[in-house]
């Protein structure tokens, strides 16, 4: 399986890198033993003393992983912790991090398994940060440092769990429930600037999820036929890029995805989601899948006028002149009644089009 890091990572475990870690640890022990045998002996005694205490957390972790593998299905995991989750996913991650017991490294295998099932990087980072709150330690913290300090500590960790999750997720690029989604490398300064902008935007949106979740005004519903058509558009990918971008929005909106999750998963703006929802409800499928007409003036000159202009330009120049100028052409076109008015500046692009088309036909 390809991890979001772009590296290969086998499903269900650390693979070769796990052996590297073990090798490095063994080498560190060997080197220390060579330099100071007594230190290694003390370290091993401490290890043997600690091992029985680790037995229960390790057992709990194996049971959890066994139950997870037994019951959890990827689609269920994605529904609760993947791209389709909003505030619920963050709450699960942070509360899970606070409630998680035992040493941190015991949780890595389970987190790795969750990632393979589509859990977002940002939620994993939030989980790991939330572990800074150790519930059994809170009474001691209150006793030694006071209730105010302990309260502020807990509040700050909760807040920064979400913030660090958002920032980490954004640093890794598009992520979340989309297996194999490649992270975009920071190849230039401009990409870093856009990454920072996107991070700030994500922070704003994530805080918004807690403060006031967006409630869509227009509810998208699909018939079976419409759903099949949109799924076909998305799957086959043989249509205009704009339709390809809109079809998944409609599918997810119809599946009752929250706007925040939809925007994050598909990397689209709130205004685009609103616009597509509105147009689906008010104007129907075709309008929702297409762009709105572009603002600005309509084209003044059509192909017919271009053809007339071409004919005039190819005819003999007026008497007393050896060639056509733009002004003369404009006057002639008006004089012949092909247009009510014609600016000489409008002639130039029109002639260019005519010439290019002629070259194209010749080729």
């Amino acid at each position: 399986m390809s991890s979001a890091d772009g590296g290969k990572r086998p499903a269900g475990g650390p693979g070769r890198s796990g052996w590297y870690v073990l090798g490095v640890a063994a080498a560190a022990y060997a080197l220390t033993g060579w330099l100071n045998t007594g230190l290694v002996e003390a370290g091993l005694r401490h290890f043997l003393h600690t091992l029985p205490r680790l037995g229960l957390p390790i057992l709990v972790m194996f049971v959890l992983m066994f139950l997870f593998d037994l019951w959890a299905r990827p689609e269920q995991v994605v529904r609760h912790l993947g791209a389709g989750t909003g505030m619920r996913g963050w709450l699960l991650a942070v509360v899970g991090g606070v409630a998680s017991l035992g040493p941190l490294y015991l949780w890595y295998p389970l987190l790795g398994r969750l990632r393979e099932h589509g859990v977002r990087h940002s939620l994993q980072a939030a989980f790991l940060y939330g572990r800074a709150i150790r519930i059994p330690m809170l009474p001691f913290m209150v006793h030694y440092f006071g209730g105010a300090y302990a309260s502020l500590f807990v509040l700050n960790i909760l807040l920064f769990s979400v913030l660090s999750g958002v920032v980490t997720g954004r640093m890794l690029g598009r992520e979340g429930g989309q297996k194999g989604a490649a992270a975009v490398p920071p190849s230039s300064q401009s990409s870093w600037i856009s990454r920072i902008q996107a991070t700030l935007q994500a922070l704003y949106e994530s805080l918004g999820e807690f403060a006031m979740p967006r409630k869509p005004k227009y509810i998208v519903t699909l018939t079976d036929e419409e759903r099949v058509r949109l799924e076909d558009l998305t799957r086959k990918g043989k249509c205009a890029a704009r339709k390809l971008k809109r079809a998944p929005i409609l599918l997810k909106a119809a599946a009752r995805w929250k706007d925040e999750a939809l925007m994050e998963a598909l990397d689209v703006s709130a205004s685009m989601v609103d616009d597509i929802r509105k147009r689906w409800v008010e104007e129907g499928p075709e309008a929702a899948l297409k762009d709105r007409p572009r603002p600005g003036q309509r084209r003044k000159r059509d192909d017919r006028q271009a053809a007339h202009l071409s004919a005039v330009a190819c005819s003999d120049a007026p008497e007393g002149h050896d060639h056509w100028t733009l002004r003369r052409l404009a006057d002639k076109v008006v004089e012949l009644g092909y247009a009510e008015s014609f600016s000489h500046e409008a002639i130039r692009p029109l002639l260019k089009t005519v010439v290019l088309k002629s070259i194209g036909r010749m080729l």
């Binding site: 979001a4 590296g7 890198s17 590297y20 940060y129 572990r131 800074a132 660090s164 640093m171």
Partner: protein, 54 residues
Amino acid sequence: MTALVVTWVTAGLVHLPPEASLLGWRFTLYRTLVAFIASLIIAFLIPALLHVLG
């Protein structure tokens, strides 16, 4: 003291290899860097808030 407590749990160097082997190096490095910076911010924030709250 706050910085010590928070970084101890969230940004430990000892945990880097096992975390990276299971969750990926990029994720681990980015997460640790962000956690470290966040810990520094919290370390400044909590005393400041305590001072403000009296």
